[in-house]
C-alpha cells in the first residue's frame, strides 16, 4: 500500500514518450541499429545488435535520482535505494541473484546520479533467459528485510567516508548549497551526511520510494550485443509484461533566478592544491533543444586542451595544474562550471580573471569557427572511439535516454552536437554566463605547521 507524504502529487500517465515500435538505422555518428518497442505497461525496450561473440550488456535506466528527494531528511535515498535493489525478492531471496548470475560470470553493478539510476549486467548471452527473469522480478517485486536494510546503510556510509578523503565531495556539497536555495540539486547524489547517518531508520520510506519510482513507464531497458531478438522479446514481454505500477509525479521546487553574484569558500584541512570554481546557472538538457550539445561544446571551447586558456594558464604561464569543467547534463536547470586547480594561492585572481576574459570574448561574439569545427570532429570521432564493447554502448545509450527521457537520446545529442554554430555559442554565453548568475567557490588548504592535522 503506497503511503503518500503531503508533498507528493500522484498523477497517472506515462513519464516517457511511447515508441510503440521503431527501428533506427545506423548513421555515421552512431553505426548501430536500434530496435525500440514500448510494452502496453509503458516499459521501453531497446535492442542493439552488436558483434560481440556471445556477450551481451543489459542496461536498465530509471528516471530517478537525488533530484527526486524532496522530503526533508531523506536526501541520498535514490543512491541508497540503488543498493537495496540487489537485495532480492520472495522468489529470488537475498543471495540467489549472486548464484544465478554469478554462475555465468556477469559483471553486475549500478550507479546513481542527480537524475537517473542505471543498472547494468554484462556477460555471456547464454545467461539472458535467467537474467531477464531475475531482473523483471526485482523491478516488480523487490523485497528485503529491515536488518538487511540497516546493514546496507552502513555500506553507504562507508562509501561516503571513502569519497570524503578527497576535497571534491566537499567542494560539490558547498557549491550546490550556495548555488541552489530551493531546488533539490542543493544536495549531492550521496545526500547530506546527517541524512546518510539517519538512513537505517527509514525502512518504510524505502518501500514507498520503490512503489513511486520503480515503475515501467519510468524505466527504459537497453539490450546490446549478440542475441536472438525474437527470443529475447518473447522473454521480456512474458516477464516484464505484468509489471503494472504507474510513476508518481512530485513537484520539485523551482530554483528562483539568481540575481546577484554569490561566493562560497572551503578551508580544506589537509595538503591539497588551491581550487577556483566559476559556476553559472544554465538551462536543462532536453531532447528537443540543443542545450546539452551547446554546453558540451562550450566546455571544450573554453577549457579544452586546445583552448587559449589551457595554452596560457597550463602550458605557457604554468599557473595552474589543470583547468576543466564539471558540467554534467541534468534534467532541470543546473550549473555550467569552470574549475582551475591552482599551483599557488597567489595566482587565484589572475587565473579567475583570465577565465572570465575568455567567457567575455565568446559573449562578445569572438568565436573561432575553426575551433568549433575541431570540437565537433572530436565529438563525432570520440563517440565512435568510446563504443568499444556492448557495455559501453549500453551505458551511453542508457545515460542519454535517462537524462533526455527518450530512448534515442544519444543519437539526438550527437545530431545536436554536429549542428552547433559559433553564433549559438556566443548567444548562449551572453545570455546565461552573466555575472548575476555566477557563484564562485574557492578552496584553500589550511594545515598546521607540521603539514597535516592531528
Amino acid at each position: 500500500m503506497r503511503r503518500l507524504l503531503p508533498l507528493l502529487l500522484l498523477l497517472l500517465g506515462t513519464a516517457l514518450p511511447a515508441f510503440a515500435q521503431s527501428t533506427s538505422a545506423p548513421t555515421q555518428a552512431f553505426p548501430y541499429t536500434l530496435k525500440t518497442d514500448t510494452l502496453p505497461n509503458g516499459l521501453t525496450v531497446v535492442r542493439v545488435p552488436y558483434p560481440s561473440q556471445g556477450i551481451v550488456s543489459y542496461v536498465t535506466v530509471v528516471r530517478v535520482g537525488s533530484r527526486n528527494e524532496v522530503e526533508p531528511g531523506k536526501t541520498g535515498f535514490a543512491h541508497f535505494f540503488e543498493h537495496m535493489m540487489f537485495k532480492g525478492t520472495k522468489r529470488h531471496p537475498e543471495g540467489e541473484r549472486e548464484r544465478i548470475l554469478g554462475a555465468f560470470g556477469f559483471d553486475d553493478n549500478a550507479f546513481t546520479t542527480d537524475d537517473i539510476t542505471l543498472y547494468y549486467s554484462y556477460g555471456p548471452s547464454a545467461g539472458l533467459p535467467q537474467l531477464i527473469d531475475i531482473e523483471a522480478d526485482r523491478f516488480r517485486n523487490l523485497e528485503y528485510s529491515e536488518p538487511s536494510f540497516r546493514t546496507e546503510a552502513l555500506a553507504v556510509l562507508g562509501e561516503y567516508h571513502k569519497n570524503a578523503a578527497a576535497p571534491f565531495l566537499k567542494m560539490e556539497e558547498t557549491l550546490n548549497a550556495a548555488a541552489f536555495t530551493k531546488h533539490t540539486y542543493r544536495h549531492t547524489t550521496l545526500g547530506f551526511y546527517e541524512d546518510i547517518k539517519a538512513m537505517p531508520e527509514a525502512y518504510q520510506y524505502s518501500r514507498d520510494f520503490f512503489q513511486r519510482w520503480y515503475t515501467p513507464d519510468n524505466t527504459q531497458l537497453f539490450i546490446v550485443g549478440d542475441f536472438d531478438d525474437d527470443q529475447v522479446m518473447k522473454l521480456v514481454r512474458e516477464h516484464y509484461g505484468p509489471w503494472d505500477r504507474k510513476t508518481s509525479t512530485i513537484t520539485v521546487p523551482t530554483e528562483p533566478p539568481q540575481t546577484q553574484p554569490r561566493n562560497a569558500h572551503v578551508d580544506w584541512p589537509q595538503p591539497t592544491q588551491p581550487r577556483q570554481v566559476l559556476a553559472w546557472h544554465t538551462p536543462a538538457a532536453a531532447a528537443n533543444t540543443n542545450s546539452s550539445a551547446l554546453q558540451t561544446v562550450l566546455v571544450a571551447y573554453l577549457v579544452g586542451p586546445t583552448s587559449p586558456a589551457y595554452k596560457q594558464l597550463v602550458l605557457e604561464q604554468q599557473l595552474v595544474e589543470s583547468i576543466s569543467s564539471d558540467y554534467v547534463d541534468h534534467r532541470d536547470p543546473h550549473l555550467f562550471t569552470l574549475t582551475a586547480t591552482l599551483k599557488d594561492e597567489r595566482h587565484r585572481d589572475r587565473v579567475r580573471l583570465a577565465l572570465l576574459r575568455e567567457v567575455s570574448k565568446v559573449a562578445a561574439g569572438k568565436v573561432d569557427a575553426a575551433r568549433v569545427k575541431a570540437i565537433q570532429d572530436n565529438a563525432r570521432y570520440g563517440a565512435l572511439m568510446a563504443l568499444q564493447t556492448p557495455r559501453d554502448v549500453g551505458i551511453q545509450l542508457g545515460w542519454y535516454a535517462g537524462i533526455l527521457g527518450t530512448p534515442d537520446g544519444l543519437q539526438r545529442h550527437l545530431a545536436h552536437l554536429a549542428k552547433v554554430t559559433p553564433a549559438q555559442l556566443s548567444e548562449f554565453t551572453k545570455r546565461y554566463l552573466q555575472a548575476s548568475k555566477l557563484t564562485q567557490l574557492s578552496l584553500t588548504p589550511k594545515v598546521d605547521s607540521a603539514g597535516g592535522t592531528k
Partner: protein, 535 residues
C-alpha cells in the same frame, strides 16, 4: 566534483558507480565435515618460503611484433611495451622513468610543441597515453583510420624525436610532485595504503618506491637526466610492438621501420635482488581520515606460468575478485556485517584499468605480490575487519572450498574472464604479457585449467602456496597510536551491530574477535603521511 568530457564512458562510470549486492547463502558456520566431502589434512601447512628469488621473466626478441588485425573496425590500436619501468630509476632520482615517459607523451615533438601536439590530436579524438609501472612502460594509442598517416607520424615522433622542452619538464615535474604531496599523501587513503604496503614488503628493493617518484627524487632530475634516460631504457631490445584493429601490412612495415631507428640497446638490465621474506610487519600511515584503510600482503613466488598460479588465482577470486559482489570477503564483511564499502583479494599485483573493474595489462612483475584490500572501515572496527579478512584467508588454507561454491566460482570465472578481453587494447595487452610470462593463450589456458580443478586439488595448492602467516600490513588512519597499541596487545576486538544478526554469523564472530593478527609487536612503524615518499 563530477567530471564528464564529451561522451566519455570513463567519466560516466566515475560518476557514482557503486554496487550493492545480495549475500550468498551463509557458508560460514557449519563444521568442515558438512562443508566438503574431503577431510582437512591434520598436518600443519608448510612454512612460507624464507626468500623469493628473482627468476627473470622471458625476454622476447627485440621489437617482437604482435598483431591482432580484424576487418570489422575502423579503429587502429597501437601498444608499444618496453621492459623498462621504475626499477630503472637511478637511486636519488626516483620518478625518472615516469617523468621521462610523460614528457615524451605530452611534451611535444621536434616538429610540434606540446600545444601543437594537442591541436593535432584533438580533431581526430585520437588517444596517446603512457603508463609506467615497476618493470614496464606502455605507450598506447588509438586512432580512426581516417587519420592514420598523420597519427603514425606523431605517435612515432614522441619516441624518436621528443621535444624535451625544459618548460614542459618543469610543468610535468611540478605535477608529479603534487601527485605525491597532494594526491597520494592527502586525497587517496586507499591508494596510500597500497603504496605503503608496496614500500613495506619490497623494502630495499627497486620496487619499493612509488612509481611516480619521491619528492626529492623528482626535484633532483635535470633535463639531461631525462634525455639520457630515454636513450638508456626506451630501446629496441626492450620493446614489444603491438598493433590491433584496422591493420594492414603497410602499417606493420612502416611502424617497424620507424621504431627500428630507436637505439638498439641501452642501459644494462637491472638485476632484481632476492626478497628476503619478513613476515609480521605493520606500517601505520597517520593522517586526518574519517576511516581506516587496510592493505595486507606478501611477496609471492607464484606468478603466471607457475603450475600453481591458476588454482591460487581461482581461490583469491573466490575470496574477493576486484569490485565483484560475488567475493566471499565482500559478502561477509560488507554485505552481512556492514563494515565498509568493499573487500577484495588479489593473487597478483592489481591496478584497476580505468573505466573497468579489471586489472591493467602490461604490469607484469618478476616478483609478484599477493594482497588483500579492505576499503576504509570505521576506526573502531578496523581491527575486527582485519581479523575477519584473516579468518577467511586462514580457512582457505585449512578447508577445501565447498563443492557448490566451487562450481559457482568456476562458472563465474569462465564467463567473467571473457570480459577481460573484449577490447583491442586489452587483447593486445594479454598477448604481450604472455610473451614475458611464457604463457601463450593465457586466458584460454586459464579457462581450460578451471575445467580440471577440484576443491581438493585447489586446496592442496593453497596448503602449500598460500601463507597467511607471511602477511605484512599497511594501515592509513588518524589515531595511529591507538591502532598500534591494539596490534601490540593482541586484545580481542569485540563488535556490536546496529541490526539483528543470525546466530550463525555471531558464531563466526566468536572466532574472528580473538583471531591472531600476525604482527610482531616490535615491527610496527608509525609514519606521518607528510613524510611518505619524501626521498
Amino acid at each position: 566534483m563530477k567530471t564528464q568530457t564529451l561522451v566519455s564512458l570513463t567519466a560516466l562510470l566515475s560518476l557514482a558507480g557503486c554496487a550493492s549486492h545480495p549475500k550468498p547463502a551463509p557458508e560460514t558456520t557449519p563444521p568442515p565435515a558438512q562443508q566438503a566431502t574431503a577431510t582437512p589434512s591434520p598436518e600443519a601447512p608448510p612454512a612460507p618460503p624464507s626468500e623469493v628469488p628473482a627468476i627473470p621473466l622471458h625476454q622476447p626478441k627485440p621489437m617482437e611484433l604482435v598483431v591482432l588485425a580484424r576487418p570489422d573496425t575502423p579503429i587502429v590500436t597501437f601498444r608499444l611495451v618496453f621492459h623498462s619501468g621504475s626499477i630503472d630509476d637511478p637511486k636519488g632520482k626516483e620518478g625518472l622513468t615516469a617523468l621521462t615517459a610523460t614528457l615524451m607523451a605530452e611534451g611535444g615533438t621536434q616538429k610540434l610543441s606540446s600545444a601543437q601536439l594537442l591541436d593535432a590530436l584533438f580533431p581526430m579524438a585520437a588517444e596517446l597515453d603512457t603508463f609506467v609501472d615497476k618493470e614496464f612502460t606502455t605507450f598506447s594509442g588509438r586512432v580512426h583510420r581516417d587519420f592514420l598517416p598523420r597519427y603514425l607520424d606523431i605517435f612515432t615522433d614522441i619516441l624518436l624525436a621528443p621535444r624535451m622542452d625544459p618548460a614542459e619538464l618543469e610543468r610535468l615535474r611540478t605535477n608529479a610532485i603534487s601527485d605525491v604531496e597532494n594526491g597520494l599523501r592527502s586525497a587517496n587513503d586507499e591508494g596510500l595504503g597500497k603504496a605503503a604496503l608496496d614500500a613495506l614488503i619490497y623494502a630495499g628493493h627497486p620496487y619499493a618506491h612509488y612509481t611516480g617518484g619521491t619528492v626529492q627524487g623528482l626535484k633532483s632530475i635535470t633535463l639531461d637526466d631525462v634525455k639520457a634516460h630515454a636513450q638508456r631504457v626506451f630501446t629496441q631490445d626492450r620493446l614489444v610492438v603491438g598493433l590491433a584493429g584496422a591493420v594492414d601490412d603497410a602499417l606493420k612495415q612502416s611502424l617497424l621501420a620507424r621504431v627500428g631507428t630507436l637505439p638498439a640497446t641501452g642501459a644494462p638490465r637491472v638485476t632484481l635482488p632476492t626478497v628476503t621474506a619478513t613476515a609480521g610487519r605493520a606500517v601505520i600511515i597517520q593522517k586526518q581520515a574519517l576511516s581506516t584503510a587496510v592493505s595486507m600482503g606478501y611477496v609471492n613466488p607464484v606468478r603466471r606460468g607457475d603450475p600453481d598460479f591458476f588454482p591460487l588465482a581461482f581461490a583469491l577470486t573466490h575470496l574477493g575478485e576486484h569490485r565483484q559482489s560475488i567475493g566471499l570477503l565482500f559478502n561477509e564483511l560488507r554485505e552481512q556485517r556492514g563494515l565498509n564499502y568493499g573487500d577484495y583479494a588479489y593473487a597478483e599485483h592489481f591496478i584497476e584499468d580505468p573505466g573497468t573493474t579489471y586489472n591493467r595489462t602490461n604490469i607484469a612483475r618478476t616478483q609478484q605480490d599477493l594482497t588483500v584490500w579492505l576499503r576504509p572501515v570505521e576506526p573502531s572496527n578496523a581491527m575486527f575487519a582485519t581479523r575477519g579478512a584473516l579468518y577467511f584467508l586462514d580457512r582457505l588454507v585449512k578447508e577445501p572450498i565447498p563443492q557448490e561454491r566451487f562450481d559457482l566460482m568456476r562458472g563465474f570465472l569462465q564467463g567473467y574472464s571473457r570480459l577481460w578481453e573484449q577490447t583491442d587494447p586489452r587483447r593486445l595487452g594479454y598477448a604481450i604479457d604472455s610473451l614475458f610470462y611464457g604463457t601463450p593463450d593465457y586466458l584460454e589456458q586459464y579457462r581450460q585449467a578451471l575445467t580440471k580443478m577440484t576443491p581438493q586439488s585447489v586446496q592442496d595448492v593453497l596448503r602449500r602456496r598460500l601463507h597467511p602467516s607471511a602477511l605484512n600490513f599497511a594501515f592509513v588512519t588518524q589515531d595511529a597510536e591507538t591502532l598500534a597499541n591494539a596490534l601490540r596487545s593482541g586484545q580481542p576486538s569485540p563488535i556490536t551491530y546496529a541490526s539483528d544478526k543470525s546466530q550463525a554469523l555471531l558464531d563466526v564472530d566468536k572466532s574472528i574477535i580473538p583471531f591472531l593478527v600476525p604482527v610482531r609487536a616490535d615491527a610496527i612503524t608509525i609514519t606521518p603521511a607528510q613524510t611518505f615518499m619524501e626521498k
